[in-house]
Each structure stands twice: as C-alpha cells, then as structure tokens.
C-alpha cells in the first residue's frame, strides 16, 4: 500500500483538541502513523491546506425501498440533457452518484437512519453499490407489531432488550431508530394522530412508553448510539411541546432527536405558526445525554421520504408535483414518499429555514448538534457546503434573510444572533462528535493508529462554501481517492454494525411468531456476515459496545 505524507497542513482534530495547528500527517497501510521510515510515495504540500478527519453524515436517506421509490417516481428530474455519466437528480441520486458526491465533499461515512428490518437486505444491497464511503443503518422499531404486543402485555425489559439486540444482529445495523412511536402502526388501524401520551387504539400503549422502553434497551445493551428518535407530530404547529415530552420520556437516558427543526414549531401569531427554537435549544443546552441533528431545509425542489406514513399520508395534499406513495410494510413499519418544493415565497417554508438556522446557532455545544438536512427531506446533502457558509458567515446569512421573498424578520431572531461557527466547531459537529456518538472506533480523528480517513481543503479559496464543496484531497482507508479535486479509482467501504449480547431463547419465540404470522421464516429474515460480503457485496465491521449489557 502506498504511503502518504501530508506536509505542513493546518490541522483540525477536535478529538485531540488540535485546532488549526501546523502539523504533518503520515499514512501507511490504511492507518495514520507517527512517522514513515522512508520517504512517502506521495507527498502533498499542505502549506495552504486545512486538514480534517473524513466527515461523517449520521442521518441521510441513501438506501432502502423509499429511496428507490423516489428515484423512480421523480425521473423527470433526472436531467437527460446534461452529458455527464450519471444524470440522476441531486435529491434522489443513484447509488453511484451518491458515493461520488459524498467523497467529492470529503465525507467518508454515511448512515441510513430508517432501515426497516424487513427491508434490510435491499437497503444493504443498495448501499453496497455506493462507492467509497462506509455505510451503516439504524433499524426501525417501535411500530412493529411484535414489539408493540410485547410492551402491551407488559413484557420484562430484559426480553425487550433481547429482541432489540436480535434485530440489530439480524438486520446488520449500528443503531435503533423510532419514527413517530406507535403512530405508523396506529395508522394501519385508521388512527390519524397519536400524541405522546395518547394510547393507540390497538395496543393501548403510548408513544412515551415506547420511547422509554427502547431508550432503555439501547442504553442497557450498551449500544453507543442513543435511541434515534423521530418524534410524534412532525410538522404540526405547536409540536415543540411534544418534542420536549418525548425527550422526557427517556427519563434521563441518552436520546438523540433527529431533524429537530421539523419538531420545533410553536403555534403563536396570526398564522398560528412560529419558531420554538429558543425553547428547544434551551432544553438541549441544559439536558445532559441529549443530542440532535437539525434537518435544515433548503429552498428548492426535493422529495420527502419517511417511515412516518401517518404524517406522510396527511402531507400528500402538499405534494409538488402532485404525486405520492404511501405503503404499509410487513407488520414492521410503513413509508411515505411525497415530493415537495420549499419556496421562499412561503411564510411557513421561510420560517422553517430560519428555525433550522436558529437551532444551530442557539445550541451552545457543537458536540450535541449535528449538521444534516435529513437528506433529502429538508434538501439534498450536496447543500451542506452552503449550509456551513450560512453558519459561519453572519453577513451572508443576513443578506439571504433580507432577500427572502416573504418578510419573516418579525418572526425570527436570526438577525439578532451574532454567532458565527468556527472551523473547529464545524470539524466537531461533522467529524469527532458523530464518530463519538456512533461509537466508531478510530474514525473522526487524526490520532496515531486511527483509520486514515482524511479530508484536505484548500485554504486559498476565499469562499467557504466553495472550499467545503470541493476538497483538494480525500484519503479513505489510506488510499488517495480524491486528488486535486478529481476522483481517482473506485474503492468500496464497509458496513458498520454493533452486536450487543442477547439471550438466544428470544429466537425460539420469534421463530414461532414468524412461522405463524409472517410471510417469511426467521432464518431468511436474518442476514449473516457471509451473506453481506459474498452476496450483498459489503463486508461488515463490528464496532464495540460501550459496556456489557446491564440486564
């Protein structure tokens, strides 16, 4: 394997508290090493360069049934007139384009946040065809009939823990996500809304209870990533209260609230729609064990895709263009795909844009908030460089606010916020913090012995958006995959998973359940490591749990 010497770069490595320090980085055999015994095969002069670990996107919809439905639904947005190899739209890129665009922006790991266990094989096969980056998925629970019936009959927490650990293994995932806890299931029984303390008609349990048992399961199993929660009442004015109640449901255990922007709405003012970013961030700043990603919206055409079929069915009336699909899936979950155009002429959309930015800027600790657009729900991941500029440049931000087609200045505190993110904070929120919260060992950092996932930016570029859009060099697994902003030979990443312990007797119970009620057997539900590498096409990397399971 070639050796690489990044010479004299300005290094940002928050894990090691290194911020803008002149340093050399050496790479050998896929790892960062202290020094090289002989002259490196490739020496890159980094005098005018910024060096960071490879970026990590902890919430991006890049693989699975709903993504493919969107690709096929919206083919008119794939641009046939442009003579590039791959013409798929940025908000529904092909797997090939997904990998090319991520690596071209210096991202080396991406995580699909809504992997339905019943659809896991497809998600992994699809993600296996994304070049360059490492992938991973959060298994969706909390709307599956099996778990809900367990909770409903008062099953012991340890039995639930066994089930959760089994699902992580069977679906080859790194975390657990719950979407509109109980709501997707309730929709199948024709319930159209389910608030945090409302009982579902079928199971007579509340979203609070579901979030509580799942947060506890994830914690007790020692899974590094806290329960990843898409709260109840997505998009509903006044929903910040149910967001706070959902956080409380974890009873102090670690919890990650995803695309919090969509859950930070008040219902004040003439239009009964207002920002509650202050209330939400006040909570975020004071509550330990709470993290979030933002789900910033960007103006323009995109497509919303979610397991939240309850809300997506309601939202289909806003589809742009006027087409959509909702699906009930295998007593497991659901999905809804609704194309949408965020318009700056729309008061609601403009305020959503401001709420997202307020949330970023009011959050005090860059380790607790992550940079996402909930790709593609708020906008495509390719808009990250633009978003970074919005966070780092107040003048730019204020100019855009002034230029919005609808005047929202009386409804947002955005202009009063003086804060500008620093490069160190950007490095934290896109590298060290996501690696830490996902439990990715040796990633998101530049320590000696770490995996050589490195991004080099050109400091000479005056425009920060341009700089983050086109890093000059990217190293993945010790291989220079982007050189002078041009993608080199293809490589293929691994699938990152965790494997907490469980009592295998749960498999007997599940086997019985599958035989009686499912349309596939348990043995064909489980994806083995061999199947991952030999048939699906992606090797698995097992990450450590934080500790041995508690109960």
């Amino acid at each position: 394997m070639t050796t690489i010497h990044l010479k004299n770069g300005h290094v940002f490595d928050p894990t090691n508290r290194i911020y803008n320090k002149k340093k050399d980085i050496f790479v050998q055999d896929g790892k960062i090493v202290k020094s090289l015994k002989k002259k490196a095969d490739q020496i890159i002069n980094c005098t005018d360069k910024i060096i960071m670990p490879g970026a990590i996107d902890l919430h991006t919809h890049i693989g699975g049934g709903k993504v493919n439905i969107a690709r096929l639904m919206l083919q008119e947005f794939h641009n046939n007139s442009d003579r590039d190899y791959d013409l798929t739209a940025d908000f529904v890129p092909s797997t090939l384009k997904t990998g090319l665009q991520y690596i071209g922006m210096g991202y080396t790991s991406c995580f699909e946040p809504a992997l339905l266990p019943m659809n896991a094989r497809q998600s992994h096969a699809e993600m296996a065809d994304i070049p360059f980056v490492d992938k991973g998925g959060y298994a969706l629970l909390g709307n599956d009939d099996y778990l809900l019936s367990m909770i409903s009959r008062g099953a012991h927490q340890s039995e639930i823990n066994d089930y959760v650990a089994f699902i992580l293994k069977a679906s080859q995932c790194i975390g657990i996500k719950v979407v509109n806890a109980g709501g997707i299931n309730a929709f199948k029984f024709n319930q159209r809304a389910l608030d945090v303390d409302e009982q579902s008609i079928r199971y007579k349990i509340t979203p609070r209870k579901i979030v509580n048992v799942l947060a506890r399961a994830v914690y007790e199993l020692g899974v590094p990533h806290p329960l990843h929660v898409h709260c109840s009442n997505l998009g509903v004015p006044g929903n910040f209260k149910s967001t706070i109640e959902t956080i409380k449901a974890a009873e102090g255990l670690p919890i990650h609230i995803t695309h919090i922007q969509f859950h930070s709405y008040g219902d004040n003012g003439d239009r009964k729609f207002s920002s509650a970013s202050a209330e939400i961030t006040e909570y975020l700043n004071k509550v330990p064990n709470l993290t979030c990603d933002v789900g910033q919206i960007m103006f323009g055409q995109t497509v919303t895709m979610s397991g939240d079929s309850m809300k997506q069915h309601k939202n289909h009336k806003h589809a742009h263009p006027k087409k959509w699909l909702c699906m009930d899936i295998e007593c497991d979950a659901g999905c809804g795909v609704v194309p949408f155009k965020y318009r700056d002429q729309s008061f609601v959309n403009a305020l959503q844009w401001a709420i997202g930015l307020e949330t970023f800027l009011l959050a005090e600790d860059a380790e607790k908030i992550f940079l996402t657009t909930d790709h593609p729900n708020g906008g495509p991941f390719t808009s990250y460089p633009h978003l970074i500029k919005l966070l780092m440049d107040k003048t730019f931000r204020d100019d855009l606010l002034d230029r919005l087609a609808v005047d929202i200045k009386e409804h947002t505190i955005l202009k009063d916020i003086k804060r500008e993110y620093t490069l160190s904070e950007i490095a934290t929120m896109t590298r060290s913090a996501p690696a830490k919260i996902l439990g990715l060992k040796n990633k998101g950092e530049l320590s000696v012995g770490s995996d050589a996932y490195i991004t080099v930016y050109d400091k000479k570029l005056n425009d920060i958006e341009e700089m983050f859009a086109h890093p000059s060099h990217v190293i993945k697994d010790g291989i220079l995959v982007v050189k002078n902003s041009v993608v080199q030979d293809y490589i293929w990443g691994k699938t990152q998973v965790v494997r907490p312990e469980y009592d295998v007797s749960i498999e007997k119970k599940l086997n019985k359940h599958f035989k009686k009620f499912n349309t596939i057997g348990l043995s064909n539900f489980v994806i083995s490591n061999d199947e991952m590498s030999e048939v699906i096409g992606s090797d698995v990397n097992v990450n450590d749990c934080l500790r041995k399971r508690i109960s």
Partner: protein
C-alpha cells in the same frame, strides 16, 4: 434410485420461480438431484425437480443448434458483439446480482438494456409517477386485511400458493383469520378449478375483467352498471364499505392485452386512495415471475430508471419509447440481442432478422435456433443470489443447493464483454 433421507438436508429454502418466493421449502439433495419434501403444489415441486433432468446437466453450449465448447461459444459471441452496431441486452429472468452484471455488461458494449416485461411493470410505475398510490405488502394482507378483492382469471396459475400463504391464511395477527372475506373476481370456472382447497371465506364472482373500470365506478356511485347480479354487487359493495382494511389485488399482466389496461389499474388505485380519506385500504399489484421486481429495483438504484436505458461511452440515457427492446426487435432496428434468462424457461420468441445469443436456463425454449446458446446455472438452485418478492419490500436470499454444472450468468457475461 437414490436414497431419500427422512430428514431433509435443506430447510427454509427460497423458491426462485414465482414472485411470491415462498421460503418454506424443505428438500433433500442426493447425487446432486433435488427431492422436494414439503407438501406443496405439484407445479411448484416440478420446478425444482425439473433440474434433475439429465438434459439439464449434460447440455453444452451450442452454435446454431450444434454442440460446441464453451470457449468457442464465447469466441463466437464476442465476434457477434464486435460486429454489432446496436446490441440489446434483454433481461428475461434474473436476480439482483445478475441484473447488476447485466447493467455493467450493457455499458461495456454500449448497448440498450431492457426487461422483457417492462411494458407491464411500467404501467404500475406509471400510477405513482402520475398520481397518488396506497400500497401494501404480503404480511400486512395476511394479518390485517379483512376484505380482499382479487381481480384475476388465472392468478393461481402464476402464483400457486397465493391463497394459502397470503390471502386466506390459517392465522392472522390482528384480525380473526376465519372472518376474512376474499372475493376472486374474473373467470369463475377457471379460478375454482385452480384453487383446489375449498374455503368458505373465498367467493368466486364471474366477471369480464375488461369491465373492471365500470365495476369500480359502480362502487363509487353505489349504482350497479355492470353485468353482475344486484345481490352479488350489493354484497361486494357492503363488504368493501364495512371493511377495516381493504386490499385490492391484481396482476397487471392480466390486463395488459386490454387497450384500457392503464385506465383499469388507475381506477382501482384512485378508488383505494379515496377510501383512505376515511378508512384504510391498499393496493397489492402482483409482479411478473421473471425477476421483474429485482430488475426494477436494481436498475432503479443504479441508474434512477427502471429499464430501457441506452449506454454510450461514459453516458447513459433513458427513453421509454426509443429503447423499448421488444419493439426494437419486432421492427428489425437492431442487429444483435443477448437474452439473459437465468431463472425461467419460458419460450423466448427470437427474430431471425437479427443475431441472437441466449445465456440461459438449460431448458430455455425458443422458436428458432439462436446463433449462440450458452447454458447457465440457476440462482437459487446452482448459485447464491438475492431476489425481490412481488411486493417490492422483501428481498430473499437464494441458496446454492446443488453443485453447479454450468457457469453462473455473471461469469458468462463477464467473459462475453471483457
């Protein structure tokens, strides 16, 4: 006679042959021959056991119907590809991994890629490309659907275990299975003949499927404009209106010959969408048995389109009309077709005006001798693989249960184009 052991060597094997892909097959393999031990439909059993025929294992590559070595068949194929100005690679049955290889191969020969059933499956995709769609999957139908309306003249011929495994199961999780109501609408005589088990939950209604749109309109207006007797229509309407979770199920291939095919499936879909304003209902369109769904999904994530793609250098484009393989073949607009037929052995209709290569199931049938025939192994019998079930949700693992006697389609394709 080989000895068949009492306990099967293989359990929970996935059947690759119809798009239900039942995964409860138990079988034994002795002397590289398969013996199905599960008590399943004879036609399903036959599909496995036909792979024991000596002709399958002994068949070699052929040039114009005459046996030839594999190397010579590859050599001749490469020559045909080199001399071709416009090559079509037509997926006539493949799993996910072969479809991946098909796209790579098409890009290498600057060819056109399509699936033999694209005309049918594009009609289903049309619905959600143009309007709203509510769909469901097999386990939801099994466990939640209290009323099922199935439009079909011969659906059980193509999906032999649909009734026992999905529509009229012994157990349902959320409802009482014995209270389910299943209406099979179509050719009553044929449908009764096909469904051997008597089941009081199933009612067969004789109906000309061509008039399905009128029936749907009658449901909406609550006024019978069809040839159905009033009492039958009223019972059907009553069941639909009182259902908690209605499923409307069809196979578009049964409507495709009607000039109003899209209107029919669109009418069903719109009706289902409207029911969901106040109650719950969903569509379950059944896919073809030639790896249709695996083709749609794999091609979808790799290119953004379901089929009908032309590769040129480092560029590809989709054109639904221009790159419709069947139409190109019929109109003599291409000079070489490579059929890749790894699962099904349905008869392929070749055109003698162009050159034909078949990489196929050893018992593939055809109307005229192809220029080259190269037998390949079958995913799910000879090789491991991945295949999508009819509902587009569940992907199942295909096992290698025999020692293969033929190369995999992927290996053959790589030899042809590299």
């Amino acid at each position: 006679m080989p000895k068949i052991s009492d306990s099967p060597k293989y359990k929970d094997i996935v059947c690759p042959f119809c798009s239900l892909h039942c995964d409860d097959i138990e079988l034994d393999v002795e002397d590289n021959k398969i013996f199905v031990k599960s008590d399943i439909n004879e036609s399903c059993k036959k599909k496995f056991e036909q792979n024991n025929l000596n002709s399958i294992t002994t068949i070699s590559s052929q040039l114009n119907g005459k046996s030839e070595s594999f190397d010579n068949a590859v050599k001749q194929s490469k020559k045909l590809i080199k001399n071709s100005n416009e090559t079509v690679i037509l997926n006539t049955s493949a799993d996910v991994n072969i479809t991946r290889e098909l796209l790579t191969s098409t890009s290498k020969v600057n060819g056109i890629f399509d699936h033999i059933n694209s005309e049918t499956f594009l009609k289903n995709i049309d619905i959600y490309q143009r309007k709203g769609f509510m769909s469901t999957s097999l386990s939801e139908v099994k466990n939640k659907s209290d009323v099922i309306v199935l439009f079909s003249n011969n659906i059980l011929e193509n999906y032999p275990r649909l009734v026992e495994r999905v529509l009229a199961p012994d157990n349902s999780f959320s409802i009482k299975a014995n209270k389910k109501k299943i209406y099979v609408i179509g050719d009553k005589k044929n449908n009764i003949k096909q469904n051997l088990k008597k089941d009081n939950r199933i009612k067969y209604i004789d109906f000309n499927l061509r008039d399905t749109s009128i029936l749907i309109e009658s449901f909406i207006t609550k006024s019978n404009e069809t040839s159905l007797k009033e009492n039958i229509f009223n019972e059907l309407l009553q069941s639909i209106n009182t259902s908690k979770y209605l499923t409307m199920c069809w196979a578009t291939s049964e409507f495709i010959k009607n000039d109003n095919c899209y209107n029919i499936i669109s009418a069903i879909s719109e009706y289902v969408v409207s029911i969901n304003e106040t109650s719950r209902a969903a569509c379950l369109p059944l896919a073809g048995n030639d790896g249709d769904v695996s083709n749609i999904q794999t091609t979808g994530w790799l290119t953004g389109f379901p089929s009908r793609i032309k590769f040129t250098g480092n560029y590809f484009e989709y054109d639904r009309d221009l790159y419709h393989a069947n139409s190109l073949i019929e109109s003599n607009k291409i000079d070489l077709v490579i059929y890749v037929n790894s699962i099904s052995n349905k008869k392929l209709v070749l055109n003698n005006k162009n050159k034909n290569i078949i990489v196929g199931h050893p018992t593939t049938k055809y109307n005229i001798q192809p220029d080259v025939f190269i037998p390949c192994g079958i995913p799910g019998i000879d090789y491991k693989g991945l295949i999508f079930r009819t509902d587009n949700v569940v992907t199942l693992p295909l096992e290698a249960i025999k020692i293969p006697t033929h190369r995999s389609a992927q290996e053959i394709l790589r030899r042809l184009v590299n």
